[in-house]
Every structure is written in C-alpha cells, then in structure tokens.
Amino acid sequence: MAASSFEQDLSAAQSGDEVAFATLWRNLNPGLVRYLRVVAKPAAEDVASETWLQIIRSLGKFRGDEQSFRAWVFTIARNKVTDWRRHEGRRPTEEITAEHFDVAGSDDTEQRVLDQLSTEGALNLIATLPLEQAEIIMLRVVAGLDVAAVAKLVHKSEGAVRVSCHRALTRLRDALSTLAAGSVTR
C-alpha cells in the first residue's frame, strides 16, 4: 500500500467512506489477527473485533501517517489483549514439535520445513517463544513496526527491544536446527 493511497484512504474513512475503511481493514486485519493469534490465541477473533470497534469509535480523532496508524492499531489491540488476559489467563507455552509445521511424514522433515513452511506453521513456531519475545517479533515482522514504535508500544527501551529480538531470533534458529537434527534420527 503506497503511503499516498493510505493517506487518501484514511482521510476518506475518517469522513465516513466505507470503501476506504474496508481497504484499511483488509490491509491491517491479517497482520492484526496473526499478532493476536500468537499473543492471545483462543480469543484472537474476538479481540480483533473489539479492536476494530474501538478503531471505528476513535478513527475520527486519529492524526498521523501510516506507520503511526499501524502503531495506533496495535496499541489498541494490545490493550484489548491485556484486558482479556486479566480475565482469561495467559497463553500457555508449548514445546516445538514437528506438528507445528503442518508437515506430515518425517523422512524428509527438514526439507519440508524449509520448502513448505506455511504461515500457520511459522506462527505456531513463533508462538512457542516466551510471550514477550513472540510479541516483539510479531510487532516487528508482521505489524511492520520499527524498533522505536515497538519500544513505545510495549513500554520498554529500544535497547531492551533489540535484545529481545536477538534472543528470539537465536531461539528460533536453535529450535529449527534442533528440529532438523531430530529429523535425521527418525
């Protein structure tokens, strides 16, 4: 989505243009649902709906560019997640298994993982990270926010966000190596 068309869509949506709002929704909802799927799995759809209703209520008052709009949307989502978590408990952590990758059979798991890694499999893998790291990875990669925006969103320093990213990526690398190595012995 080009910035200029984003600004047009935002402006039109703020004036009540349903088509423009639908464009914003289609551009943002997949990333939003994926983020929620990782940080609030059982409630992802509900929290996404609540987030959009809040966006609708507050849209007219938003001022900013596309990056800040994304940050705004994910901030609302994160607040909704916090509310949800207070009442429903926390995302359980899981261990990584081959099942996370949607791959059947195991004689060539590594190849399949590398060749056929689905979005779902990737989200499942990221969801096995500690919550804080998983969230930061999703905000960086899927929400497309930069370090500064993520730091503000999760109330941490930019340095802490970088460290979390580093740890998360290292864990992913090690987990993938382990998984691939495990497939050798089967």
Partner: protein, 390 residues
C-alpha cells in the same frame, strides 16, 4: 541439506538438544545490524551464517499473503462502521455486532431494574443493598449506600465488558477510557465486586428491617412514579410482606432504621470486605481512594483502623517470600513489572489488584512502587517470578 548425516551430531548431543529445544548452542555470533536486516527483509544478509536461513524462512512465512480466514468478518465490521457514521452527530457509542451484544445484555437488564423504579427508587433499593453488585458498588460510592455484599450474585453482568480498556488509550486518541466514566464496578475495589452468576442471593448481613425499609422506599417511589417494582425487588418485598396485597400495609409498619448504616458500618455488617481490606492493610500495602475510604468507614475512623485490623491475622499471600516490608515491595515491583509488560499470569494479577486496592488502582499503585535496591535493571530479572524464563 545442512545437517543430514552430519557427523557433528553425536547421539548424546542430539538427545540433549531434542529435550531442550531452546538450549544455547555455540554458534557464530550475529551482529545486531544483521539481525535487523533479517527482521526487515526476511532474507539472510551477506556475511551472515547460513544457519539463519530457516529463521528467515519462518519470518517470511509469518508475513505471507493474507489468507481467506483473515479476511472474514468484513461484513460485520463494515456494518459497525456504517452504524457509527449514523451515530456521529449524537456521539453515541457504536452499536456492536451481534457477537458482542450478547455480552452486554446482562448489563442492560441490570440497568433496566434501575430505570423501572426511577432514580429515587434506585437509590432506596441501593440503600437496601438489593441491587446487582456492580450497581450497588456504584451506589455505594455515589450515595453512600452499603457496599455490595461480596457474596451477592445477580443476573447478567458480564464478568468482563469488552468495551472499556483499563490501559490508557494510545496517545493519538483523545477518547478517554470508558472505564473511568461508565464502569460502576470500578468504583469499589475489584476484590469486593464478585463475579456475577445468574441468580442473586439474599443479603443476610443486612438487618431485615433495614432491607424492608429500603424496599418499602423503593415501593413508594415506584408507586409515586406510576410504575411497578420488578424482579428480585418485587419478590423480596412480596416475601417480606407475606403477599402482594399486603405490601402497603406492611410498609406502613416498617420504621426507618435508626443508625445510619453508612455511619456505623462496622465489621459485622460487611465482614468479607473488612477482612479483605485488613489483609491489605496488615500487609503494609498502601490503600488508596475508595478502598481506603471504605476501610476507614468500616473501622469508624482513621484512628481505629489499626485496632479493627488487628483482629485479622496477617496472611501469607506470596509463597517463598518472607513478610517484611522490603520483600513486599520487591514482590510489588515484580508484579508491577509483569503488569506493565502484560506477562503477568491471572493469579498474580489478582494479587496485584489486591495490593493496589482494586483493578483500577493498579496503574497508580505501580507508579508509586520503587525499584528495590539491589535489583539489577537488566531485562530478565525485571520479570515477575512466574514469567517465562528467558
């Protein structure tokens, strides 16, 4: 590929790695700027080990094209958007799609009880402590009626309204959090507001004459406004009067209770609230706002709080932590830290709510909690005891 048949994987290494998938392994270190590039582009930058290729694949896949399931629901959201446009002139809240409206039915039903007896009737009903707990809580702070009984349950109110967000809105949005304006349950400590269940129970701690007086006032108000009492109010009054036909006669005999309950609200009238608040007080935690006011009122004065609470033994709420002031503040710091990061499990949230004196005081409470001396500010040790091990 890389590892298939690779001799470096001795069986013992493999077993260990398989059981500790996140175990640290020696590997070539990556530079931060390389990782940044990996995050941004989903490709392994030049000069970075090919070990990172699978990670790049994962990141790209996570950011893959939209799937159909992620684009369902557009109709409902657009309908909500349309309705919001109609509502703009009057600034009314957005009408929710059906999936959310069910959650709110209970709240509306509870409000209907108030509406049906009129404002004065609601006030007297609150006085009689027969309103649903969240409304009773609001009445408690607004008109000094008795606090909601912690065991009281009632119809409908969702345990969690989807609408308000306890967390601050993003700075771009000037719209205030709805919780501050419209969520009556937040006006009393969360620990005193029970989760509702379908049927409301009696309020046994209130003297019957007090309840009767409140009900009769409600009845009088309702009659004066030409409406009828409904639901549990009506049932209670009928039961007390011994039949609908006897209400007027019965109410004529009910005296106004002499001591104002709000002035003499000692432990015997609200034992659970007293116990809860004293637990917090005895723990040395700071009570603020409505919870402090309530405790002072329960004790009959600021100078009597200590005496009142001395009857309640200090509990040991946090396992593995000794009960000194310093330890408490360390725990508070850890809890607040987890709260800020959104990583606090439910049971610790409840603890934090209690420490803070209510869910809506958590943010303010945490703002006052100092970092314990000797606690390094490094990232992992900031996390609460139960957060994921990094």
């Amino acid at each position: 590929m890389r590892s298939r048949g690779n001799a470096k994987w001795s069986p013992s290494v493999l077993m260990r790695e398989m059981h500790t998938p996140f175990g640290r392994r020696s590997s070539k270190p990556a530079h931060l700027h390389q990782l940044e590039s990996l995050l941004r582009t989903g490709t392994v930058p030049l000069g970075m080990s090919s070990d990172w290729q699978p990670v790049a694949d994962v990141l790209r896949a996570a950011n893959g094209p939209a799937r159909p399931s992620e684009l369902t629901g557009e109709t409902a959201i657009l309908a909500a958007f349309r309705r919001a446009q109609l509502d703009v002139p009057s600034r009314r809240p957005v009408t929710r799609p059906p999936m959310l409206s069910a959650l709110l039915t209970g709240k509306l039903a509870a409000l209907a009880v108030c509406a049906s007896v009129g404002v004065g009737g609601a006030a007297t009903a609150a006085y009689a402590n027969v309103l649903p707990a969240p409304i009773q809580g609001f009445a408690h702070s607004a008109i000094d009626a008795p606090a909601p009984h912690p065991d009281a349950s009632h119809s409908g109110e969702p345990s969690h309204s989807p609408e308000p967000s306890h967390s601050p809105e993003p700075s771009h949005s000037p719209e205030p959090s709805h919780s501050a304006k419209t969520e009556p349950t937040r006006s009393v400590p969360q620990s005193l507001v029970p989760k509702p269940s379908p049927t409301r129970t009696e309020s046994p701690e209130l003297p019957p004459s007090t309840a009767a007086y409140g009900l009769c006032r409600a009845y009088a108000e309702a009659t004066a406004h030409g409406v009828q009492l409904v639901g549990s109010l009506q049932e209670k009054l009928v039961a007390l009067a011994g039949g609908a036909a006897n209400i007027a006669a019965f109410c004529a005999t009910v005296p106004k209770p002499t001591p104002n309950p709000s002035e003499h609200h000692d432990a015997s009238t609200n034992p659970v609230a007293t116990a809860e608040l004293c637990k917090i007080y005895n723990r040395g935690a700071k009570l603020t706002g409505p919870s402090l006011e309530l405790l002072v009122r329960l004790a009959g004065g600021t100078d009597r709080v200590r005496a009142l609470c001395s009857a309640y033994p200090t509990p040991s709420p946090v396992p593995t932590v000794t009960h000194t002031g310093d330890a408490t503040s360390t725990v508070a710091f850890g809890l607040c830290n987890g709260y800020r990061h959104g990583t606090l499990p439910e049971k610790y949230l409840a603890m934090l709510d209690q420490l803070a004196g209510g869910a809506d005081h958590v943010a303010a409470f945490c703002a006052t909690v100092p970092q314990p001396t000797g606690t390094p500010h490094a990232e992992p040790s900031q996390a609460p005891p139960s957060s994921p091990v990094i």
